[in-house]
């Protein structure tokens, strides 16, 4: 049953991804992308990683999609009247590159072996012996993530904090720069606040 659910969800997700690429209107494309993020969250749930699913919804749909919408508002191309027109040879090259990436991913995930052993999953019985670290990681993911983050992966964690601070400072610097630029720009439609 999980297999059927997975196939249905993946098909829906692929449709949403295709919608993102082919939509004319930018905001429609962003909405398809939001639906795709949601499908990814559902896939995380199917993989029993509900912590990841919640974070996917929180960060991607709650924050990144909002940022994307604001970015779309920056452009004037909201209604999608000026879609880019790609010439024929670039289109062929794009399809070629995408196809080769697909083949590489396909083979690489399977370990360069033929497509066998689908739908067979190792059993995970819940007994007193399954209290290994990994077992606990699945039953109670969040405290395990916290503990690993504080003990084994401290340095990447602090580096992530440094990266976030750098992003913040960078955003402030860029925005201030643009702000002073706009004040001296020529007449735009009146700046409504």
């Amino acid at each position: 049953m999980i297999q059927a659910l997975f196939i249905a969800l993946s098909a829906f997700g692929l449709l949403m991804a295709l919608g993102t690429v082919f939509a004319r209107n930018l905001v429609n494309a962003a909405l398809f992308l939001v639906a795709f993020f949601f499908v990814v969250a559902c896939q995380f749930v199917l993989l029993e990683a509900e912590f990841m699913a919640a974070i996917q919804v929180l960060i991607y749909i709650g924050a990144v999609a909002v940022l994307l919408m604001f970015g779309i508002m920056l452009t004037r191309n909201i209604q999608g009247d000026e879609t880019t027109i790609v010439s024929r040879q670039w289109r062929l090259l794009g399809i070629g590159v995408a196809g080769s990436v697909l083949i590489v991913l396909f083979l690489g995930i399977n370990g360069f072996k033929p497509w066998t052993d689908l739908g067979i999953r190792p059993e995970f019985p819940v007994t007193a012996e399954t209290t290994t670290e990994r077992g606990q990681a699945i039953i109670a993911m969040t405290p395990t993530v916290g503990r690993e983050m504080m003990t084994r992966y401290v340095v990447p964690f602090e580096l992530a904090g440094l990266l976030l601070t750098a992003a913040l400072v960078g955003a402030v610097v860029l925005a201030q720069y643009d702000n002073t630029d706009e004040k001296t720009a020529s007449a735009e439609p009146p700046q409504v606040s």
Binding site: I2, R121, E123, F124, A128, T142
Partner: protein, 508 residues
């Protein structure tokens, strides 16, 4: 290719169990879920919300010295049905060129977000529709979808003022989301679990209401204020203000579409009151219940070293629940007399498997005492306990709803720049400081399973720290309240900014 060989070996990482996933969903569970869905979510909650709308109109009317609607039925009690019929027979007008699908999608997203939040809340013992191990994180992530729906509402109307209202609304929601999620952190710290059932049980049997501590009070206030801002309620209702910007992001919504937005907003109010009650007021438990909890004693059968093992072998199990809620708490006392609190992940026969966040520097010999703080719910039959718990829970929720109405009737609307600076400059630093004060409370009271004197000392210390943090934050923001605001500058100060003394004594 050595990496791929590792993946196929069986002893590396157990991935999934098909048996664990859907074989646990048996007929009883389907019936239970069906009842929750069709008797609870889509019958009881809309009724509650409809009467909350009526209650708001009557309470706001009483605050303004008049009576609310009282024509339709006795005391106006049939008013929600009249409103519903009115909204349905109105024509549904969509502005030309608007994207009709997105126009309908926006209120549906708000409603979905509110319903999903209510899915995790424990309304009584055994009455949480689902008990997710990461319930609180799920709830936070679901409530963040609302920002997107406001933007879609404003954008799809193709109206300049709608769009403006929508962008402001999204900016407000986004700014107040951070204090909301950060103010919940003390609760998570103290209960050690993200599951709401476990949080309620911790308050009910182990630690008392989380409100009864200085960081708890501050956290509760921060949660309440930022939740009110999250649902666009007064005094934070700038995006939908009726006297400015026409009606903000739902200008172009009329008839039932507007009704859906309205329903979603009040459902959200109900949901955040339920959330605040569950997290800080120990939803369903009486105020002093946590301090007088009974304990059941058992004995360890084998020695236990927390750094190496995670399974406790006990001599009897009949008093512990079969499927404990995630993270239910036990205390182990070893021969030396140290007591340490642990959380149970699940139970297998006579063995209790502890959760991964257990304290690891603890050793207990065989025959040490194990006591469960979360015992009494399984001693009394759950349906009798629920007869008390459900009314208590609803009482607390409705009291909070009344407080929200009261705030709306009393306070004027906050100006947009004050709104933003309040979020980023006052509430975020306070929420972060609150986390640290909560850590101090945890170290003083909860980790050493402290008694009355430890609690008193901790009240003093954390009370001073909390008051100091609040004073510091307000002092830092002092300049932005007075000096920069030209409307508040007293007229006796001259333009060059002399002090009041100099201005009055000029020329003497």
């Amino acid at each position: 290719m050595a990496h791929f060989d590792l993946l196929t070996k069986n002893d590396f990482t157990p991935i999934l169990a098909q048996r664990m996933f859907y074989e646990q969903v048996d007929t009883v569970l389907w019936i239970r879920w069906g009842l929750y869905l069709f008797a609870g979510f889509f019958a009881v909650f809309p009724l509650i919300v409809a009467y909350i709308v009526l209650a708001e109109r009557k309470i706001a009317a009483r605050f303004q010295d008049r009576i609310g609607p009282n024509r339709v039925g006795p005391f106006g009690l049939l008013q929600p049905f009249a409103d519903f019929i009115k909204l349905i027979i109105k024509e549904s007008i969509v502005p030309k060129g608007a994207n009709s699908f997105v126009h309908i999608l926006a209120p549906i997203l708000t409603l979905i977000s509110a319903f999903l939040v209510l899915a995790v809340i424990p309304f009584g013992i055994g009455l949480a529709p689902v008990d997710l191990p990461s319930g609180l994180l799920y709830m936070v992530s679901v409530s963040s979808i609302a920002a997107l729906s406001i933007f879609l509402a404003g954008w799809s109307s193709r109206n300049k003022y709608s769009l403006l209202g929508a962008m402001r609304g999204v900016a407000q929601l986004v700014s107040y989301e951070i204090p909301q999620v950060m103010s919940i952190l003390p609760v998570i710290l103290w209960s050690g679990s993200l599951s709401l059932v476990s949080i309620v049980q911790t308050q009910q049997y182990d630690q008392g209401w989380f409100l009864f501590s200085p960081p708890g009070i501050l956290g509760f206030l921060l949660l309440l204020i930022s939740s009110i801002a999250e649902v666009n309620r007064a005094p934070f209702d700038l995006p939908e203000a009726e006297s400015e910007i026409i009606a903000g992001f739902h200008t172009e919504y009329s008839g039932m579409r507007f009704g859906l937005f309205f329903l979603g907003e009040y459902l959200n109010v109900f949901a955040i009151c339920c959330l605040s009650t569950t997290l800080f007021l120990g939803g369903g438990s009486l105020p002093l219940q946590g301090y007088f909890a009974d304990e059941a004693d058992h004995m360890l059968v084998a020695p236990f070293d927390a750094s190496k093992q995670s399974v406790l072998k006990l001599n009897a199990h009949h008093e512990f629940p079969e499927n404990p809620s995630t993270g239910f708490r036990i205390n182990i006392t070893n021969i030396v007399g140290e007591t340490q609190a642990f959380q149970v992940s699940h139970r297998v026969g006579n063995d209790l498997v502890l959760m991964a966040n257990r304290p690891v520097e603890f050793k207990a010999d065989a025959y040490s005492r194990v006591s469960a703080a979360a015992r009494p719910s399984y001693a009394a039959p759950w349906h009798l306990s629920n007869l008390i718990m459900i009314p208590v829970f609803l009482g607390k929720v409705f009291f909070l709803v009344f407080v929200i109405f009261w705030i709306r009737a009393t306070l004027p609307r906050v100006r947009v720049d004050r709104l933003m600076s309040f979020a980023w400059k006052t509430m975020v630093p306070l929420a972060i400081a609150n986390i640290f004060v909560a850590t101090i409370w945890f170290e003083m009271v909860i980790r050493p399973v402290g008694g009355f004197s430890a609690r008193l000392l901790a009240w003093l210390v954390t009370g001073l720290l909390t008051a100091g943090a609040v004073a510091l934050v307000f002092r830092i923001n002092r300049n932005s309240y007075q000096a920069n605001d030209p409307e508040r500058r007293p007229t006796l100060i001259s333009r060059s900014g002399d002090s009041l003394l100099a201005a009055t004594t000029r020329g003497l």
